[in-house]
Symmetry: C2
DNA sequence: ACCTGAACACCGTTCAAGT
DNA sequence: ACCTGAACACCGTTCAAGT
């Protein structure tokens, strides 16, 4: 079945992906050494991921290319494809282990306060790791070290009277608030760095528009200020109050 | 000042960008015709933007390239740079006018219900225009036709007792909820299309992890289902309740 | 089993020149 | 004023071959 050499190579890539999952980073390697089978590896998969992560940390997702990683670890671009299936997989692998680099904070005993504290910890951590936010938009929860936060949020939600299902939904809503804030905060910063690029709102408002948009027209002058003053903690507090008020309410 | 021909060309690009802002799409053109000055234009700026928008609608942001737009409007890539400053500007220009293609819905008189209705309208509209969500992550509010939604949200918030400033913050929070939901809904759909790509959570949980993450372990089996069952309307309702409860509370 | 080299089919953008 | 052509410095990935 599909028995070309190429297919066998693909399976090897699968093995490496599996290693990231079951946390046994040297098992396959040792096996190969013990068996004395195959060519000795010149390229350590860990080096690929570490280099990719460094580029992401220093310069962001846009700067990461397979060719650049290859150059910096000292191989050809194609050697990488032996260890990862494609660029997306490499991006996912860079995520593993990042949460463990941040110390786990002391959390308040009160469940409502804990809910807010964990959510703010997520926000604060990711604000300092903007590349993680970019990679996370690909979708998956891949870093096991980050799961304690989800566990705490769901647990605190349940302690506050939510059903487990409601608590998971609450987690997702809080995550949307955190993620949205981080994305648009970054977008603002990027635009601030390019001062010649035109700002559209509220500058584009004409007098005719102002008549139809009275509230926005009144706020136009302070809009920039308002955008900067957005206080995540305060807003998340309000969102949590709303989510917890669901407790015991019929579906 | 900077008096090379090249600088003059750049200014022309500036003129076109300005036209999008002050809604006088033919002024510069007519002036040129009247004056009989310069070479007659072969390439209509509107055609560039329209073609770009068609590609975005049909195939998404990843499929849009300057070279492809150029080919489809029948010019060279470089001709485009006469009408837009760069690819980012072209993306922003495609946004203008999209909100006007969606009929404005009837809204309930009750301000709390109106808040929810407008937010859901935003969500529903953008769910049908995934490319807009992708472009919006660049940051700016560029489509004047979309401002009535912000106005309604701020207005309804004020009617519910929020200060204008609180109402703007509430708008941003609601926008984060809408945007986050759309981003991760899309990510889920994309991953569903590639069935061979491995799912990480909750499959990566070992028994040891399960002991430390009791709530997540208990929910592991129903996780996929839970993710699909997320009901935006219900969650936005809860968020709105929380945001409105801020009314009258000290800062 | 692991790696290389050449190639394919692309990118955004600059520069100098043409009409 | 508007457009072209060639070029620069890149991409992700496939394929066939080498050890």
């Amino acid at each position: 079945m599909g028995g070309t050499l190429l297919y066998a190579y693909r399976n090897q890539a699968g093995v490496w992906a599996g290693r990231a999952r079951d946390n046994e980073p040297v098992a396959a390697e040792e096996k190969a050494k013990k068996r004395g089978v195959g060519r000795p590896r010149r390229l350590e998969p860990e080096a690929i991921v570490a280099t990719a992560r460094r580029i992401l940390e220093e310069e962001g997702v846009a700067a990461l290319s397979m060719r650049r990683v290859a150059k910096e670890v000292g191989t050809t671009p194609m050697a990488l494809y032996h260890h990862v299936r494609d660029k997306d997989e490499l991006l996912m692998l860079t995520l593993a282990g990042t949460a463990a680099t941040v110390p786990r904070p002391e959390l308040p005993a009160d469940p409502r306060a804990r809910l807010l504290a964990v959510t703010l910890h997520m926000h604060g951590t990711l604000a300092r790791m903007p590349w993680v936010v970019e990679v996370l938009s690909l979708g998956d929860l891949t870093d096991k070290g980050a799961l304690w936060m989800v566990e705490e949020i769901v647990g605190a939600g349940v302690e506050c009277g939510l059903t487990p299902v409601e608590a998971v939904r609450a987690y997702r809503t809080l995550w949307h608030c955190v993620y949205g804030d981080l994305v648009f905060r970054r977008a603002m910063e990027r635009r601030a760095e390019e001062p010649d690029r035109k700002r559209y709102f509220p500058d584009m408002l004409t007098d005719a528009d102002a008549a139809e948009l009275p509230h926005l027209a009144a706020l136009a002058d302070s809009w920039a200020e308002l955008t900067e003053d957005y206080d995540v903690a305060r807003q998340l507090g309000a969102v949590i109050d709303g989510l917890l008020a669901q407790a015991g309410r019929p579906e």
